[in-house]
């Protein structure tokens, strides 16, 4: 564990060191280029700000209304027949729309069951192989004004579903309860 933690602590400093050293060796004007690139990045953020406001407001309204809980309850008969842990259903749905809200739900489950329980292990694996689909899609497509996204959402949902199914299967095999 400590070995992996150490490695992960190294990723950012090493990325910096490699790029700076490489740039130095190639005689790139380091600071000038950094500033030029950073200016570009700032414009990017300002450009996506309206999309993020719109998205977070919509997600906020949906969350506060309790609609996701109702949807979770509606699909509960189906998910429990498939052997899916009931209390992980709201988290699985939330994961698709909001990163911060799903983290909140994850920590609630950790608090209740502990990270080393069947539930704790399952949600840990599931969270590592899924993405906030709606956020990514809005920010990227809106930035180039694409409104017809064709099969993107369907495929992304299939990919996430496959990840969730794989997580459940792996938890059952590796950490049987």
């Amino acid at each position: 564990m400590s070995y992996i933690m150490m490695l992960s602590n190294l990723i950012i400093p090493m990325t910096f060191a490699v790029i700076i050293l490489y740039g130095y060796a190639k005689r790139v004007e380091l600071y000038d280029n950094f500033i030029e690139g950073a200016k570009d990045g700032m414009q990017t953020v300002v450009g996506i700000l309206p999309t993020i406001v719109g998205l977070m407001v919509a997600v906020g309204i949906l969350r506060a209304s309790g609609a996701l809980d109702i949807i979770s309850r509606l699909i509960l008969p189906l998910t429990s027949r498939l052997g899916y842990p009931n209390e992980a259903v709201p988290l699985t749905l939330m994961r698709l729309v909001s990163s911060s809200a799903s983290t909140g739900l994850l920590l609630d489950l950790f608090k209740k069951y502990g990270p080393d329980s069947y539930m704790g292990r399952f949600v840990s694996i599931m969270m590592s192989c899924t993405e906030t689909v709606f956020y990514t899609m809005s920010v990227y497509f809106m930035s180039v004004k694409i409104t017809k996204t064709r099969y993107t959402l369907t495929s992304a949902l299939i990919a996430n579903f496959a990840g969730v199914a794989a997580s459940l299967l792996l938890t059952n095999i590796l950490f049987p309860s």
């Binding site: 690139g37 953020v45 906020g60 840990s124 993405e131 899609m137 495929s155 990840g163």
Partner: protein
């Protein structure tokens, strides 16, 4: 599609809140969320520009060209419509590598540039091209090899072995990406470029 989903999220939220008597919560959430979005962007403004600054150095030094050359065979398979040596490939490589390393905020600016370049190749400007669909699917299938935040939360809640989920997490990530690519390629065949 996006317009439709966005509108639906808000309307469903308001309708459900009206029934469950949570309209006051919805009002608060709407205003809070708008504020949170700006706060998030303020943080992003710093972190993302740090990464784009650093990436500019890497680009000028030829590091990014080198990496995208290494990834070229894989990218040709995933994105057969992008001409060889096109700028889009460079940004896609940067985005993938940053995602794999778990540097999400370094990945986004490169990803947006990739979309911009792909839009230049796109013949129907309001409709996603095949390459855009594939790029988005891969981005949303999770590429990150080790999700550090989850390990950190596990330690925080006193897990005896926080890293035991790395192996299965990695397999599940590969499964989701592979299935995403297969699904994308499957739908691709049934439609035009």
């Amino acid at each position: 599609m996006l317009n439709y989903i966005w509108g639906c999220m808000i309307l469903i939220g308001i309708a459900v809140a009206a029934v469950t008597g949570r309209l006051q919560d919805v009002t608060n959430a709407a205003i809070e969320s708008a504020k949170d979005a700006v706060m998030l962007c303020v943080t992003m403004l710093g972190v993302m520009s740090m990464w784009t600054g650093l990436m500019r150095i890497a680009e000028r030094a030829g590091l990014i060209d080198m990496l995208s050359e290494k990834m070229a065979p894989l990218l040709r398979m995933l994105f057969p419509d992008i001409p060889r040596g096109h700028k889009a490939l460079k940004h896609i490589s940067t985005n993938f590598i940053a995602n794999i390393l778990g540097l999400g905020w370094a990945a986004t600016p490169a990803g947006l540039k990739a979309m911009d370049e792909l839009q230049g190749l796109n013949s129907r400007k309001d409709t996603a091209s095949r390459s855009m669909c594939m790029f988005m699917i891969i981005n949303m299938s999770s590429l990150q090899l080790v999700t550090m935040s989850i390990l950190a939360y596990r330690s925080q809640y006193n897990s005896a072995n926080p890293s035991e989920i790395i192996g299965p997490g990695l397999i599940a990530t590969l499964v989701s990406t592979l299935i995403g690519v297969i699904a994308g390629k499957f739908f691709e065949r049934g439609s035009g470029s």
